[in-house]
């Protein structure tokens, strides 16, 4: 199989295109297709809502797109057990609507929820601001089924909330970037929808006081579910995206809360005292809060995934993972003239989006420096978005780690043909 002669309507990312598309509506059919194609040496590229196709190394061999959106049923939703089993092609938004009808939700957010499939969200280990209070994808998944390049359906975990039978394949598949197999089904823990949510949007003249503020919030009398730190340009972009009239122009710390109306109101009052040094405080509640949550969730993807109406897309973005205590110094070292920076500060995650109009060379220099800083602070830095020609030199997945060799061996054990998403991750 060769790369197609001309671009078609099935991009694989990095300007490459699929030679064909498989869109099975039955998981066994999907597994059979994988086995057959892999045996012919064809690359297999799983796709959901295509919101993260640019993320990862360059597709290494010609191949077939495996479109999972034909598998989108709710398999089992025993609401009274607070679990749900769904096929991977269901969108996150659709899943949340199904759960919402029973007063429940999956306490997880990801960019472009209307497009992003639940399989894709878990495969890419996506999350949003509320991971601080509600956990990560790995904390919500209790069962998984995937199709392998051997043409087999493999499952791990189960449908009950507590289960230690066998190795934890649900965790292994979460964040595996389609490099082990195609996730076809997931069983997830659900939670009651909180009665109220709110954000306290606080503006600050500069970064300087913020490490102390975050230290105070670390032992706050409140129990925030999100601690979002935004530099000037990111604050402006988020405010704009939310459509709310929020003060921007300086550094912003947005503290998120959830619970009963009473608890949320009480916490907003307490925060007012704890954030005493802020130059401005705006409580954001009700449907305004929903819009702000949406903007904070979508912003790190930079409108790229979304096809960004009227938004210039950033050519280069990074995600650094640090210890929370090193976030402020790290963000402070980044030129707001070049980068929009948003941090899930409670988790040590820092996103940077190269600003439109800044030369890629300049951004690339910053990336190299920031990665060194991240690594020496015990973290790392990856590039969710990077111009294709820079990918080989910049290193998409960060500085090499001691456990990568083991990860590659795991990949070989599950995908001996090396057919799954070749070039992208492992």
């Amino acid at each position: 199989m060769n790369w197609p002669d001309s671009p078609n309507d099935t991009p694989l990312g990095d300007g490459r295109f699929a030679s064909a598309v498989e869109r099975p509506t039955d998981r066994q059919e999907l597994a059979d297709a994988l086995g057959r194609l892999a045996a012919e040496g064809i690359g297999l590229y799983p796709q959901g809502g295509r919101t993260a196709l640019e993320c990862g190394g360059i597709p290494a061999r010609p191949g077939v797109a495996i479109d999972v959106t034909g598998l989108s049923r709710v398999v089992d939703y025993p609401a009274a057990d607070m679990t749900i089993t769904v096929e991977a092609g269901l969108t996150l938004a659709e899943l949340q609507r199904t759960l919402g009808a029973q007063g429940q939700r999956l306490p997880l957010e990801a960019p472009a929820a209307d497009l992003a499939t639940i399989g894709g969200v878990f495969a890419t280990d996506s999350s949003g601001p509320r991971r601080f209070g509600n956990g990560r994808p790995r904390d919500l998944i209790i069962g998984v089924a995937f199709a392998s390049s051997k043409g087999e359906l493999v499952k791990g975990g189960g449908r009950v909330v507590k289960n230690v039978a066998g190795y934890d394949l649900p965790k292994l598949l979460t964040g595996s970037m389609g490099s082990l197999g195609v996730i076809v089904e997931l069983t997830l823990k659900t939670r009651p929808r909180p009665e109220a949510t709110a954000l306290c949007w606080s503006t600050w003249p500069g970064m300087e006081p913020l490490e102390e503020v975050l230290g105070v919030l670390n032992t706050s009398r409140t129990r925030p579910v999100a601690l979002e730190l935004l530099n000037g340009p990111a604050a402006e972009a988020v405010a704009r995206r939310s459509g709310l009239d929020l003060p921007a122009g300086g550094v912003v710390l947005a503290v998120g809360l959830e619970g009963t109306e009473t608890l949320v109101s009480w916490q907003l009052d307490v925060l007012e005292a704890e954030l005493g040094g802020a130059s401005g405080l705006v409580p954001v509640r009700g449907s305004d809060a929903d819009r702000l949550w949406g903007a904070l969730t979508d912003h790190p993807a930079g409108g790229l995934a979304l096809g960004g109406e009227g938004e210039a897309s950033s050519a280069l973005s990074f995600k650094a993972n640090l210890l929370p205590s090193s976030v402020v110094a790290f963000v402070e070292s980044i030129d707001p003239g070049r980068w929009e920076v948003q941090s899930h500060a409670g988790n040590g995650i820092v996103w940077g989006l190269g600003r439109p109009g800044i030369e890629v060379d300049r951004l690339a220099e910053d990336v190299t420096r920031l990665r060194e800083a991240a690594v020496s602070a015990g973290g790392n830095l990856i590039l969710p978005r990077c111009p294709t020609d820079r990918k080989p030199s910049l290193g998409i997945w960060g500085a090499p780690r001691g456990d990568w060799e083991l990860a590659r061996m795991v990949k070989r054990a599950i995908d001996p043909a090396g057919a799954m998403n070749p070039g992208r991750f492992l």
Partner: protein, 486 residues
């Protein structure tokens, strides 16, 4: 049902092991080894040929290398509280006991993690954190004895993991000595380390991936306050209906534990905690969080209790988990197994899981199965998770009773599977439940698991004969000098 196998541990291996760990950290006399013939699962026994107590990662590496050189199997062991035979030295060999690697290396509340050696007893970390405003959330009932290394290997749960998540949700990384002696750092102190989530895979491996020599765990904020109380019921049915009712109402308590009448009576006889001995069942219910919301939540819980015919007793409002009444309730819960001795010379604890709506059904079935087999069964378990622990009482000296216990256990676990559940929520497969694996998983599922084990443990030298049944894939590569596991 002794497995009765051993390998020839040569004089020279023993001498080299003694050099590696120091003679004071090695046992090889038969009478000293007997203690290590089994763990909390007493139905199968086999003495290891030698037990070593390394005090550093380097010593673990040296021991593992020697086992490779001499082609001898080895098995890691923490406190030996496994209830599934996880530490059984199948085929004999070297037992690597981690209890002398017991330092808490670092506590960092700003970044919410701690680094510990594997032999640190679970409750030591809790104690070290007292007053810091943070705690280590997984709290198995055995927490005063079991080690964090053992918790990682078995993915332990506990009463409070209902709300806060089990061990895997709290492990950021480990240092692992692979079965060939290489040391790898998996995961790390920062979240989202790039690469596969191998930390997630390693938790719950039941000692089949190597020896964990360091663990980086999450620290969790203490709740501002809590309410703990007893829901007292005339029947088990009312109690289990209450559990289902709470979950269905979207209430997630911090803990939700059930004790039946047999268990309550044993506890009262042993310790006199003040549980109502005339009750058919008691739920220990705890809600925690911000004080401003607790009355509301506690009242919502009490409403469900009353609707199901129960009453609320012994309500305690607390702000630290130090109040004497609070300590007493949880001491009682966590002493439950200790009280069983009053009822029976031997017991076997099962560990099944059902969807929470099926709790009333499974408890009724347990009663029927007990009656049918002429066995007394006590129940004390993590009800909020649907994680049952029927305790089957018997006399180990009577082979007929042993048979009936095995039959009844089997039947209970089959019923859990039929309900869409699992045969183990937290104790692990070990040697005890391997036969159930093909009931839960297809040949391709098991083949994938075998393939994963071979990545870490290609020679099968580390903890042979555990978790994955023999005959799937090509696991039993018999090497000379090692008897095949029974």
């Amino acid at each position: 049902m002794a497995v009765a196998q051993s390998v020839d541990i040569s004089e020279s291996l023993r001498a080299e092991l003694a050099r590696a760990v120091g003679p004071e950290n090695l046992l090889h006399h038969r009478d000293e080894l007997v203690v290590y013939e089994c763990d909390g699962y007493v139905i199968e026994k086999n003495v290891p040929d030698v037990v070593v107590f390394p005090t550093s990662t380097e010593q673990v590496v040296a021991v593992v290398r020697l086992c490779n050189t001499y082609d001898v199997p080895f098995v890691p062991r923490g406190a030996g509280t496994s209830l599934a035979g996880g530490t059984l030295a199948v085929g004999g060999g070297v037992m690597i006991c981690l209890t002398r690697m017991k330092r808490i290396l670092e506590i960092n509340t700003r970044d919410r993690y701690a680094v510990v050696e594997p032999g640190v007893v679970n409750v030591w970390l809790t104690r070290a954190l007292a007053g810091s405003g943070f705690h280590y959330a997984p709290d198995p009932s055995s927490q005063t004895a079991c080690t964090i290394g053992g918790n990682v290997a078995t993915n332990s749960g506990g009463p409070h993991t209902l709300k806060y998540g089990v061990t895997v949700n709290h492990v950021r990384g480990v240092e692992l000595v692979l079965p060939d002696g290489r040391v790898v750092e998996i995961g790390g102190k920062a979240e989202d380390t790039p690469g596969l989530d191998l930390a997630g895979l390693v938790v719950g491996n039941e000692g089949t991936f190597g020896v964990v020599t360091k663990v980086i765990v999450n620290l969790t904020r203490d709740p501002e306050a809590g309410r703990t109380f007893l829901g007292v019921f005339e029947s088990v049915d009312q109690a289990t209906e209450t559990v289902s009712g709470l979950i269905a109402a979207g209430i997630v308590p911090a803990a939700l534990e059930m004790l039946d009448t047999l268990m309550i009576q044993a506890l009262e006889e042993a310790f006199g905690f003040g549980f109502p001995t005339d009750a058919g069942a008691v739920l220990i219910i705890e809600v925690d969080g911000l004080e401003a919301g607790l009355e509301h939540e506690a009242e919502a819980v009490a409403e469900v209790v009353r609707r199901n015919g129960g009453s609320v007793k012994n309500a305690i409002a607390w702000t630290t988990r130090k109040e004497p009444e609070y300590v007493a309730i949880w001491k009682a819960r966590k002493s439950a197994f200790g009280a069983i001795g009053r009822l029976s010379p031997t017991f076997c604890t099962q560990d099944g899981v059902v969807p929470r709506t099926k709790l009333p059904h499974i408890l009724r079935r347990i009663t029927e199965i007990g009656a049918k087999n002429g066995l007394r069964i006590a129940n004390v378990f993590h009800a909020g998770d649907g994680n049952i622990h029927p305790i089957l009482l018997f006399d180990e000296r009577d082979p007929a009773q042993v048979r009936r216990v095995l039959d009844a256990s089997h039947e209970i676990l089959e019923e859990c599977i039929a309900c869409g559940g699992s045969v183990t929520g937290e104790h692990g497969i070990g040697v005890e439940k391997m036969e159930f694996m093909p009931r839960l998983f297809s040949p391709s599922d098991l083949a994938a698991m075998v393939a994963l084990r071979e990545v870490f443990n290609p020679q099968g030298r580390c903890s042979p004969g555990k978790m994955l049944p023999i005959g799937v894939g090509c696991i039993e590569r018999k090497s000379p000098g090692r008897h095949a596991p029974a």
